[in-house]
Structures are given as structure tokens and as C-alpha cells.
């Protein structure tokens, strides 16, 4: 299984029935492919849609029904559309149960940097600062390392997204939770040892006595 699929399947296990969820561009988008049967999740696109459905079949796209990347999507029965003020009222106002975003770096306390590399790449923060600041639960989906360097760092070298720490980081190696300013190794992926995770991680991790394997199969509870 490739890294992206591992990450997406694991994060899909965070979904609960009735949740309002925002998925960022990239790996987070893949989470929508693994919603467990029997639960209904509302996916929000911050461009003004709740009830985002799959990519339309050939010939059935509409240019003004798109995701936040501008790509055509469909709308499920019960969808709603609204202006950008309502969209960010939902995000900033605490109505969003879960946001899944990409990350460039996460520090030992869970602080996230994901919107620019000074002098190199300045995409802008888009909705990321509001999402991290306002969502009830923030999950980061990212590869554990980039060019051999850990993305889970002691201190951020890139500009901060929000002073609100993220709750969970899921990589192809591990699931790491951030609570009370401390990073805890919650789960390790199949075929990966605790030592390998620690070696690939710059930040100090608290390692419980027993670290379970990362489950990837769909949750069956509602």
C-alpha cells in the first residue's frame, strides 16, 4: 500500500456519523474515498458547499459546481450551497467537527506550518489559518519526512499557521497525538518499529509502554 493510501485510510477512521468535515487539497482529499459504510459524513468545500460528492462521470460536470481547487465535483442529496461568509462562519464559528490538512512541519507541541516557504514558495494561507483556528478537531495528513528530513520537528523553521495546536498527525509511519503540549506516539504502521519512527522524528515523542499497530480497515461502530 502506498504512503498516501495508508494515511488516508487511517484518517478515515476518525470519521463519525453526522460529522461536518473539511478536507484540504492533496492527501486529505483521498480520505473521502474511504468513508465507512453506514455512516453519513457532511463534506464541506470552503468555496461554499456542504455535501460534496465524488468527481462527476465523464460528460456530467458543471463548471460552477467545484471543490476548493476549482475541480468539478458532484453534490449529494441534501447538499447546500452558500456564500464565502457563511462558509467561514461554519469554519471559524466552531461548527466544523474535523478538518484534515496537509503540513510542511509540525512541532513537538503540535504547532503547524503549512502555508509558505519564505523565498521559495508562497501559495498563501487560503483558508488554512481559519480552519486550524476554528475546527473542533484538526488532523494533519503528511509524509513523515521530506528529502530525508523529519517534518515533525522540535521547533518550526517555517511561518506558523495558528497558535492552536493540531490534535493528530498521521503519516505513513505513525499516528502521533498532541495533548497538553506533548507529542505521544499513538500507533505505528504495519512493518514499522518504534525505533524506526523515533529515528525519523526530530521532535521528542512520548512512547507509551504498548504502542498498537495502526488499523486501516473501516471502523464498524457508528
Amino acid at each position: 500500500m502506498d504512503a498516501q493510501t495508508i494515511i488516508a485510510k487511517r484518517i478515515a477512521r476518525e470519521l463519525r456519523d453526522g460529522m461536518l468535515v473539511n478536507l484540504g487539497i492533496g492527501i486529505p482529499t483521498l480520505v473521502a474515498n474511504f468513508v465507512p459504510d453506514g455512516i453519513h459524513v457532511f463534506f464541506q468545500s470552503e468555496n461554499g458547499l456542504i455535501g460534496t460528492g465524488p468527481i462527476p462521470e465523464q460528460g456530467m460536470a458543471l463548471p460552477w459546481l467545484t471543490d476548493a481547487g476549482g475541480r468539478p465535483v458532484t453534490a449529494l442529496p441534501g447538499a447546500s450551497t452558500f456564500d464565502s461568509a457563511m462558509s467561514f462562519a461554519l469554519i471559524r464559528g466552531g461548527h466544523l467537527d474535523l478538518t484534515v490538512l496537509g503540513g510542511l512541519q509540525v512541532d513537538r507541541r503540535g504547532l503547524l506550518a503549512n502555508w509558505m516557504i519564505p523565498g521559495k514558495m508562497v501559495p498563501g494561507m487560503g483558508g488554512a489559518m481559519d480552519l486550524v483556528t476554528g475546527a473542533k478537531r484538526v488532523v494533519v495528513a503528511m509524509q513523515h519526512t521530506a528529502k530525508g528530513k523529519s517534518k515533525i520537528v522540535d521547533a518550526l523553521s517555517l511561518p506558523l499557521t495558528s497558535t492552536r495546536p493540531v490534535d493528530l498527525v498521521v503519516t505513513e509511519l505513525a499516528a502521533i497525538a498532541f495533548q497538553d503540549g506533548r507529542a505521544t506516539l499513538m500507533e505505528i504502521a504495519d512493518g514499522v518499529s518504534v525505533e524506526e519512527v523515533l529515528a525519523a522524528t526530530e521532535a521528542d515523542l512520548f512512547v507509551p509502554d504498548n504502542v498498537p499497530r495502526m488499523a486501516l480497515e473501516p471502523r464498524t461502530e457508528p
Binding site: G78, A85, R92, G93, G94, H95, T133
Partner: protein, 215 residues
């Protein structure tokens, strides 16, 4: 979202709770919910709403039954009982300019700490508030307002909780539906999911906690 009986919806509300109640002179107020609050004799309530309607209508019924200890409203002129209880010291009435009230509620629902408005500057409304100058003009800082429950009246709901409103019964309802911990909606009509066009949904389903089932 849970579908719930009228009785059970109101039973969730404890005495002393703060309620945002939609409506403008009773139009767009969930009248059945008001009647059930009377029947269950909830007391010491704080109500945030545009007005206290008139005796016998909407929030006016709660005033007459003396179930309220405080109201935050823009207007009480058409309910003499509100004025009498206020003058007698039995009911605390905080009067807020209507445009400020709606923005304070909206701010509460949108995660904003407050807004800067020119309304009220130089009047009794400014007492105790910060004044902030932006681009040479003075504004009052008015802070966000939230409550425990929102009592919402809609014209249409679908079975997952999307709401649409009719004409002037919309007023404060969609704003209050964002600004409380628990949102209870009562709709004139409940329709199958998919029947309301996405562009015509005003309150998206995920913000509604309870939809009152048709009796």
C-alpha cells in the same frame, strides 16, 4: 441531528437557560415551542430576540407568564407588559440597537469576538464600551453574543436538518441557528432529503441539533 418530539425538545431546556428565539413581532417565532415552554413552566429564562412581540403572541406569552428574568432585545414598544415588568424591576431589559443586536449574534455564531459599528456612538448605548477609530471614523466595539439554545422556526426542513425560511419569517432565525450550543428547529413542513435545491437551503443541516417531528 436527531428528530425529537416537541415535548422532549423542550424538556432538554433547563430552568435558567438562555434562549435565542427567532422572529420579528412574532413572525418567524416557533409558536409551538413557546406554548410547550409554557406548558412545562420553564422559569428564570433569559431571552435574546428582536422584540417581545405583543401580549398573547410568541415571546409575549412568556412575558405574560413571568417565565423570564432577562431579555436582550431591540424593541418592546408593542408589549406594554414588558414595559410594566421592567418599570417594576421584575424583568431586566437590555435594549440594543437592532442592527447591533443582529451583528452581535452573527459574531457569536461566526467565531468573531465582536464588531465595530458607528451605531450608538454619542448616545447612551456607548456607556461602558470601548471606542475605536478606524480611518478617521469612530466606532463602538460591540462584543459577540451567544446563548445555550436557539429556538428556530423554518418553513421547510428536510429529514437531515437543512432549513429554508419563508419571506419575512426568516429575520433572525438563520443567524441564531449558528450562535448557540444547541439548536432546536421547528418547521412547517418536513420534506424528503434532496427536495430542497442546494441554492435554496439557508441553514445547512450540520448546525441543527434537533428537528421537532410532526405530531
Amino acid at each position: 441531528m436527531k428528530t425529537i418530539s416537541l415535548h422532549d425538545a423542550v424538556a432538554i431546556i433547563p430552568d435558567g437557560a438562555s434562549l435565542m428565539i427567532g422572529g420579528f413581532m412574532g413572525v418567524g417565532t416557533p409558536e409551538a415551542v413557546i406554548d410547550e415552554i409554557l406548558r412545562q413552566k420553564k422559569s428564570h429564562l433569559t431571552v435574546i430576540a428582536n422584540d417581545t412581540a405583543s401580549p398573547g403572541i410568541g415571546i409575549g406569552k412568556l412575558v405574560t407568564a413571568r417565565l423570564l428574568s432577562k431579555v436582550i432585545v431591540s424593541h418592546i414598544g408593542l408589549n406594554p407588559e414588558t414595559q410594566q415588568q421592567m418599570m417594576a424591576g421584575d424583568l431586566q431589559v437590555d435594549l440594543v440597537p437592532q442592527g447591533t443586536l443582529v451583528e452581535r449574534i452573527r459574531a457569536g455564531g461566526c467565531g468573531l469576538g465582536g464588531i465595530l459599528t458607528p451605531t450608538g456612538i454619542g448616545t447612551v448605548v456607548e456607556e461602558g464600551k470601548s471606542k475605536i477609530t478606524v480611518n478617521g471614523r469612530e466606532y463602538l466595539l460591540e462584543v459577540a453574543l451567544r446563548a445555550d439554545f436557539a429556538l428556530i422556526h423554518a418553513f421547510l426542513a428536510d429529514y437531515i436538518g437543512n432549513l429554508a425560511y419563508a419571506l419575512t419569517a426568516r429575520n433572525f432565525n438563520p443567524l441564531m441557528a449558528l450562535a448557540t450550543d444547541t439548536v432546536i428547529a421547528n418547521a412547517d413542513n418536513i420534506v424528503p432529503v434532496g427536495v430542497v435545491a442546494p441554492d435554496h437551503v439557508v441553514t445547512p443541516a450540520p448546525v441543527v441539533d434537533y428537528l421537532i417531528a410532526k405530531a
